[in-house]
């Protein structure tokens, strides 16, 4: 299988395809999503990063209209609705976290079944994708591997030629090779057709490699939303020589580590704030990798070793 990846420059100041404000959803008394704001621009690849149980799937299920938000508003594909409508869903391709297809159906039969719900379904494109992904049309779903099922799901999500593609941890459970293959296909499809793609993941390298912009969700709340370069500019580690000094309130403390009585802290602030910061008692102000930023964001607030 070979996926052609076509790199393109994404124009600036694109309109938002999705704007969600203050989405809330509880399971029992547990807030699964607690005031999530999202802005997904048209044509971009948006990586939705969070650890297991952070609220990614619940957010996506709200976006897909599978469940309703208890509060909040959502503007999707130019329409503001309390809940995603059938009309909007027809313009969205969706790959869920687990592929719960009918095991007795063949790939072709499943495509025919799914296609009957989309007026824009392109049967030829579906067959082309199956061929591209090397999935036999006549094979039963029960006989497919996890990777093949994920690709089949992607083919079914793409075949209706949707404006918006939502993928909920599509590579979960795949081996590293299959995962890389899969993400390459997604990126290629997104770039080729200028298709807005929103995918969730807890794998930092995946997000780093594919996403134009990212959102980090933790305990049902958005911790960051923006471009990766912004994140790297805004989040820095400060390592103190001796007793740490407090930074201004505008610096948001994400994490503190104490290793052999040496204190280092991760703060988030704007690039201007960082440039204006003058510290004497500081050994180093260093940039972090995305993985370090992510761990600082969602890990323990204070770690002493």
């Amino acid at each position: 299988m070979s996926a052609h990846i076509e790199e393109q420059t994404i124009p600036l100041a694109k309109p938002n395809l999705l704007e969600a404000r203050g989405l809330i959803r509880h399971y029992g008394n547990v807030p699964a999503v607690d005031g999530v704001d999202l802005n997904v621009r048209s044509g971009e690849i948006y990586g939705f990063l969070g650890i297991n149980g952070a609220g990614k799937t619940t957010t996506i299920r709200i976006l897909m209209g599978i469940i309703a938000a208890e509060a909040g508003s959502m503007r999707l594909l130019g329409e503001t609705k309390r809940r995603t409508t059938i009309k909007q869903k027809r313009q969205i391709g969706y790959v869920s976290q687990e592929q719960n297809f009918y095991p007795w159906m063949t790939c072709r039969g499943l495509g025919r079944f799914v296609g009957s719900f989309y007026p824009t379904w392109d049967g030829q494109e579906f067959r082309r994708l199956l061929a591209l992904f090397e999935i036999p049309e006549t094979r039963r779903v029960s006989q497919l591997s996890g990777g093949m099922k994920a690709k089949l799901a992607l083919a079914m999500a793409i075949a209706p030629r949707p404006e918006f593609l939502i993928l909920d941890e599509p590579t979960a459970g795949l081996d590293p090779v299959a995962r890389r293959d899969f993400m390459e296909i997604i990126v290629a499809q997104a770039r080729q057709h200028r298709r807005t793609t929103f995918f969730s993941s807890h794998l930092i390298d995946e997000v780093e490699r594919c996403a134009d912009r990212i959102g980090i969700i933790h305990q049902g709340r958005m911790k960051f939303e923006g471009e990766l370069s912004d994140l790297r500019t805004q989040v820095k580690r400060v390592t103190y020589l001796d007793q740490p000094t407090e930074l201004p309130d505008s610096f948001e403390l994400w994490n503190e580590r104490i290793v052999e009585s040496k204190v280092s802290r991760v703060y988030r602030a704007t690039a201007d704030q960082w440039s204006q910061l003058a510290l004497s008692n500081v050994d180093i102000v260093g940039s972090l990798s995305l993985e370090e930023i992510f761990i600082a964001c969602v890990g323990a607030k204070r770690v002493a070793i």
Partner: protein
């Protein structure tokens, strides 16, 4: 969209449903042709009622599991949720699909049996329509119940068992007439026999319950995005299984223990009573006075012996193994032929208060009263709730007045004369069988309930015993009994069985013979004229 869903359900469950239909048809044909089974049910239509009561709910259970529970358990509903498809449509398609399969199965079940029984049973379109309505309503109830239950996921079987056991307990231990309630009445033992009376109240009740259960099922499927149903559909943990099994065993044991305790009824103890107990009868006579006189003691003995003799004869005649106990209590304050019923349940027996010095032991009223109440107790007090109860009352009325040498013949002409006023005021139309049955509906006043028996006797007096049988068959609305025994013994000694084995002819042949016999008896006249 909907067509795609229907096609999917058909492809997924079509083979199973087809097999279900095939099994239903084959099973019904086999049962219909099986002499032994059809005889044990009396009418072959009893088998339909039994199948509707047992087989159809089981079928619905399988269907509900495949259509709904499995969809949630295998999480394939998550896949459907991701499609541009309103959830209500998905649920509605499943409901309608299941309902159609259930209705079709029950229609096949009834249709196959009616087709097979058309020759052997007296089946007319109104009767077939009544059966079809009852069957359709019951099927709707069954599917709606299973539909709602299926959304309870892993607890559906437990809840179902609790409901079934609860109903059985209420029926058998609690004394609640569950089989007379709404949906269950539709498939009760009356199913095979009731030909004219539409159980409007029961149909309404069943409809309301079915609608409520449907609503409940849809609520489970739609409210809070089916979160509850999704959670319930998770497989049971080992601990949960252990708790469920423990609860089930404990429940069964408790049920058994309670049932056993309730079954043990305290016997009525009457001090200084005259007791006559043997393998057929159990009669006690006592006096509600401090010191009974010698005359009272003699009267007690006479009454006990006479009652025992009557009961013994009835038991032999009706092939009843043992009657419930009879308690006769002497009260000085009562007048001649004045009776007061005691407060005993059917298991304890029957208590009758009377003045034994004033009332003769050979009193026809007394004997009728004793026979009727004991037959009623023997039938667990179904006399007033069963549409055929009047037969027992008629029998009780008839028995003391019949000639012992010829049980089915009238004792004397004077007896008929005694009852002339009853017959004289009624025009009994025998133009055709339908009118005979309609006449039965006219007999609503309690005092007329014995009239049918009288008319039967009158028929014998005017014609012969065979004519009486034919008359009874027409009145009963189903195959004619050889004698009263067939009517009393419900379905175990059924009329159609006796008809085939004793009369050796089909009902229709018998009916036509009866009609022609009437024509021949009085040429140009097909009515029994009151004397």
């Amino acid at each position: 969209m909907i067509l795609a869903l229907i096609e999917k359900e058909l492809r997924q469950h079509g083979a199973m449903i087809f097999l279900f239909f095939l099994l239903t048809c084959t099973g019904m044909f086999l049962l219909q042709s099986n002499e032994l089974l059809s005889l044990s049910g009396g009418s072959v239509l009893h088998i339909v009622a039994w199948m509707l009561l047992v087989f159809l709910p089981l079928g619905c259970l399988v269907l509900g599991n495949a259509l709904i529970a499995a969809e949630f358990r295998q999480k394939t509903q998550v896949f459907l949720d991701g499609l541009p498809l309103p959830r209500w449509k998905m649920v509605a398609v499943k409901y309608v699909f299941g309902l159609a399969a259930t209705q079709l199965t029950s229609a096949l079940l009834l249709g196959t049996m009616l087709f097979g029984a058309w020759q052997s049973e007296f089946i007319q379109w109104p009767f077939a329509t009544l059966l079809a309505i009852k069957t359709a309503c019951w099927s709707w109830f069954c599917w709606s119940t299973i539909f709602a239950l299926s959304f309870l996921g892993r607890y559906r079987m437990a809840v179902g068992l609790v409901v079934v056991f609860g109903l059985l307990w209420a029926q058998n231990v609690g004394g609640v007439l569950v089989n007379r309630f709404g949906p269950f009445e539709l498939v009760s033992e009356r199913f095979a026999y009731e030909r004219y009376d539409y159980p409007i109240k029961e149909l309404w009740t069943t409809g309301v319950i079915a609608a409520a259960l449907t609503l409940l099922g849809f609520s489970m499927a739609l409210i809070r995005d089916a979160t509850l149903s999704t959670m319930l559909s998770e497989r049971m943990s080992s601990r949960e299984k252990l708790v469920m099994i423990t609860l089930l065993i404990a429940g069964l044991l408790t049920l058994g223990a309670v049932a056993e305790r309730v079954e043990k009824v305290e016997p009525l103890d009457m001090p200084d009573s005259v007791d006559i107990v043997d393998e057929l009868v159990n009669v006690s006579a006592a006096a509600a006075v401090a010191e009974p006189t010698e005359d009272e003691r003699k009267a007690m003995r006479l009454h006990a012996e006479n009652a025992a003799k009557t009961i013994r004869e009835v038991a032999v005649y009706l092939r009843i193994r043992k009657f419930p106990p009879l308690f006769l209590l002497h009260r000085r304050d009562l007048e001649n032929e004045e009776y007061q019923n005691g407060e005993l349940n059917s298991r304890q027996g029957y208590l009758l208060r009377l003045n034994m010095l004033e009332t003769q032991p050979s009193s026809l009223t007394l004997q009728s009263q004793v026979i009727e109440k004991l037959l009623d107790a023997n039938q667990h007090n179904r006399l007033n709730s069963d549409t055929r109860g009047w037969i027992l009352k008629g029998f009780a009325y008839w028995w003391p007045r019949h000639s012992p040498s010829e049980p089915n013949a009238v004792a004397s002409e004077s007896f008929a004369n005694e009852n002339e006023f009853v017959l004289g005021q009624t025009t009994i139309v025998a133009k055709n069988l339908v009118q005979w049955k309609l006449f039965r509906k006219q007999l609503q006043a309690e005092e007329n309930e014995g009239l049918i028996a009288l008319v039967g006797i009158e028929t014998i007096w005017r014609q012969d015993q065979a004519a009486c049988r034919e008359f009874l068959s027409a009145v009963l609305g189903y195959a004619a009994p050889h004698d009263f025994r067939a009517s009393v013994h419900d379905w175990w000694y059924s009329t159609s069985y006796l008809l085939r084995t004793t009369v050796r002819m089909n009902f229709e042949d018998l009916a036509s013979k009866w009609t022609s016999a009437l024509r021949n008896k009085v040429p140009g006249q097909t009515e029994l004229q009151p004397r």
